[in-house]
């Protein structure tokens, strides 16, 4: 961990136009929940969470956050200013991840929890909040690794979320074993049985931890071998 890198990454995340995009998603979710809850009844707003908030808004926030802290710098090569320093590469990756993780929790998991409270969640609210926090943690590490691996990080991450977890996940139940969203739900299920219970708990916990730690470590490892190249 390095305070300077955390500060620079936070500045890069907050000080630009992309911040508004990052902010727009949770605002949209909460506003919509409030609107529906006010116009009809609170229960009617609940389907927004498993239908939109959890499978789309949360990963999108994670994609934006993770790719903002690393993507542009790798893309235009200005990461060399960070890397030409006697700092452990894993420290750089960890510092970057902490920022992306915090952003994902604040702009992804927290609004989900708030929406769930508004939608009359009862014990479902903390459950989906926990699920979102777990999945958000795993997503941010996974997408950070993707950002360190390829310049096409955003589209690769989106393919994972929308095609693999979304489209194929709905068709093939086995995908749940390799789905960050489903691991989160399984852990949330421990708080409220109203959530679905795909896979099993031990697997969900282990897989989330492995992907989180492995993602940050892999990002650091890729930075260790960062090569300056011309345009592709």
């Amino acid at each position: 961990m390095n305070a300077t890198i955390v500060r620079l990454a936070a500045q890069a995340l907050l000080g630009r136009r992309r911040f508004w995009l990052l902010l727009a998603l949770p605002v949209l979710l909460v506003a919509l929940t409030v609107l529906i809850a006010v116009l009809t009844d609170r229960e009617a707003a609940w389907p927004l969470l498993p239908g939109l908030g959890y499978p789309i808004v949360l990963p999108l926030v994670a994609v934006l956050a993770a790719s903002s802290v690393l993507g542009p710098e790798v893309d235009d090569g200005s990461i060399v200013y960070l890397l030409s320093k006697p700092i452990s590469r894993h420290g750089v990756a960890l510092s970057k991840w902490v920022v992306a993780w915090a952003a994902t929790l604040v702009a992804g998991a927290l609004p989900l929890f708030v929406s769930a409270l508004i939608a009359g969640g009862g014990d479902r609210a903390p459950a989906i909040g926990l699920a979102a926090a777990v999945a958000g943690t795993t997503y941010s590490a996974l997408f950070l690794a993707v950002s360190a691996l390829t310049r096409h990080a955003v589209i690769v991450s989106l393919l994972f979320v929308l095609i693999w977890e979304g489209l194929l996940g709905n068709l093939l139940s086995g995908v749940a074993w390799l789905s960050v969203a489903q691991w989160g739900l399984r852990i949330g299920y421990e708080v409220s049985a109203a959530l679905p219970d795909p896979t099993n708990l031990v697997w969900a916990v282990l897989a989330s931890v492995v992907v989180t730690v492995g993602g940050v470590w892999l990002a650091g490892d890729r930075l260790r071998s960062f090569s300056l190249r011309g345009e592709d």
Binding site: P72, G77, S78, V80, R89, S227
Partner: protein
């Protein structure tokens, strides 16, 4: 004092060889890395700064490899050709961040000191976005120098910098070299290198074409006629004498005064000239090599 040693370094990308079996040593003082665009200078720079693994050979800084060796950056200051993308920081914040990342004991003082060295104290409070090319270049150099590295590597540092600021940068680099630091800069522009460094390393098509003092390199190229400018008491008379000599290929009267002489056999010309002059009662006023510019050296190496 730091020395960077490349030993039989090659780097290829797929089936393109960017750097081909280069061995060279960069010692304290200013060294120019010269080569036409696409010669592999940037690849070589990346290899030297640990941002590229050599496909073969070793790159050692004071005996230790630089690839995947983060501690080496305590010794290295790097000025990449890439533009800064930290436009939302002020110059001072950017340099300060670099000082912080190096873990200096008093980063604030180091920042102010180096901003003074590159003459950027006054605009340091403005955002990098608002800087001119030359100012950005100086801030990049400040960021690279803030931890007083023994080795400073600059990739095309004068690109797009206006002449006055270029002079300023050159003075700065010369001073750093005189302080005993190892300064290496790359360029494809001859007059830049010529004005700043006597010692050059030339790369052409990824190969190490020449190394050393460029005057000495020039003298090694004996299979090409050498140009001399000669001034004497009677240029036309001297011309008739010289053209009769087998070692001389051509003589031309200069428009103002003096002769341009093209010499094939340097040895017999050097021995013969004083004798021929004395024999014909001519006084030699001035004799100087007229093409020992880097340009001619370079043109020779590139066209060989």
């Amino acid at each position: 004092m730091s020395t960077l040693v490349l030993d039989s370094v090659s780097r290829w990308f797929g089936n393109v060889v960017a750097v081909n079996d280069v061995s060279l040593t960069i010692s304290p003082g200013v060294t120019g890395l010269l080569g036409p665009n696409g010669a592999g200078k940037t690849t070589l720079m990346a290899l030297m700064t640990g941002f590229l693994a050599p496909s073969a050979g070793t790159v050692l800084l004071d005996g230790k490899p630089v690839w995947r060796h983060t501690e080496a950056y305590r010794q290295i200051g790097l000025v990449p050709e890439r533009e800064l993308s930290f436009g939302y920081l002020t110059g001072r914040q950017f340099v300060r961040a670099n000082a912080d990342l190096h873990g200096l004991t008093d980063p604030g003082a180091a920042t102010e000191r180096i901003l003074g060295v590159v003459d950027m104290v006054e605009p340091a409070g403005r955002n990098l976005d608002t800087y001119s090319k030359g100012m950005r270049q100086r801030v990049k150099i400040a960021a690279a120098l803030v931890h007083a590295p023994a080795l400073l590597l600059l990739d095309e540092p004068f690109n797009g910098v206006d002449p006055r600021q270029r002079m300023h940068l050159m003075d700065l680099l010369r001073r750093l070299g005189d302080e005993g630091r190892t300064v290496l800069f790359s360029s494809h522009i001859l007059e830049e290198v010529e004005r700043l460094a006597r010692h050059i390393e030339v790369v052409v098509s990824g190969r190490h074409a020449a190394s050393g003092d460029f005057g000495a390199i020039r003298r090694l190229m004996t299979d090409r006629p050498v140009q001399y400018a000669v001034t004497s008491s009677d240029d036309r008379a001297l011309a008739t004498v010289l053209i009769a000599q087998p070692s001389v290929r051509a003589v031309r009267l200069r428009p103002d005064s003096g002769l341009d002489v093209e010499v094939d056999d340097l040895g017999s010309f050097a021995v013969g000239l004083p004798q021929w002059a004395r024999a014909h009662g001519l006084t030699l006023l001035d004799l100087s090599p007229s093409d020992e510019s880097l340009e001619s050296v370079f043109a020779y190496l590139v066209n060989r």
